[in-house]
């Protein structure tokens, strides 16, 4: 499969760039970020609040299979320009990762294609690196948990 999403994280810096092109018209791509019920679907999270406007705020909650809250994240929206730009803060509750600033730019490539440019700025290099490693650590943990569960069934 072609790798469509590009992530750039330079050593020793406290930001990352995420770039992706979509086979979607610009207005549809932007809608996926603005409408709570659409965000819920592609982010796989519950949207408790999403005020898609300048100085609005947002709050997401993700639950595990047992219904326990696995992650809660929230922030405020600093800029909301339809089909162009969203600037918001992002913070995960009860974690040492601090606040990150997300600048997401939307760009029309053709009538049927569009592009996202996401610039994420972290409080420190250490926090950025820790967050980048989360999915990696999660992958390892998932593997180990599965192995453990498998071993339990074998006993």
């Amino acid at each position: 499969m072609e790798r469509k999403t590009k992530v750039t994280a330079e050593d020793g810096k406290h930001d990352i760039l995420i770039i992706r092109e979509f086979d979607l018209p610009l207005d549809l791509l932007f809608k996926a970020y603005a409408e709570p019920e659409l965000v819920e679907q592609w982010m796989g999270t519950k949207v408790l609040k999403l005020e898609s406007k300048k100085h609005g705020s947002w709050e997401f909650e993700t639950t595990d299979a047992k219904g326990n809250v696995a992650m809660r994240a929230s922030g405020v929206i600093h800029e909301f320009i339809p089909n162009q730009k969203i600037i918001r803060t992002f913070e995960m509750a009860n974690t040492p990762f601090g606040v990150q600033l997300e600048i997401t730019e939307f760009e029309k490539l053709s009538d049927d294609t569009s592009k996202i440019n996401m610039h994420v700025i972290y409080e420190s290099v250490a926090q950025r690196d820790q967050l980048l490693k989360l999915p990696f650590a999660y992958g390892i943990n998932m593997a180990h948990n599965r192995m453990e569960e498998l071993l339990k069934t074998l006993k």
Partner: protein, 107 residues
């Protein structure tokens, strides 16, 4: 999502890691790999199947024999800690794309 999990699951097993180390130095047949382990041959075959499915190993026909060799590109991807992060966003964006395509046709 599944692929990523499978790669880590593949790497979580000590026998499979040993197989990768063995094959890293030279490509080998299933029989030659199995002869390095005390485990039953079908168990080794199962490990080889898992490693091949998640693309850590590749099969190459060599005359009548099938040799297993390491997929350096995939190994490098996994070793790169940013790759799972990129995969996470790629999964999300793929989902966004398919959901919005469906949304478009429903209108």
């Amino acid at each position: 999502m599944n692929l990523r999990r499978d790669v880590f699951q593949a790497l979580a097993d000590p026998t499979r890691r040993a197989i990768l180390l063995l094959v890293a130095s030279q490509s080998l047949t299933a029989g030659a790999i199995a002869s390095n382990f005390d485990t039953a041959r079908p168990t080794v075959s199962k490990h080889l199947q898992i490693l091949t499915e998640c693309e850590l190993l590749e099969q190459k026909q060599n005359g009548r024999e099938i040799h297993y060799h390491i997929n350096a590109k995939k190994m490098k991807e996994v070793a790169d800690f940013i790759e799972p992060f990129r995969n996470m966003w790629d999964d999300r964006f793929n989902k966004l794309e398919s959901i919005m395509k469906e949304y478009q046709t429903r209108k």
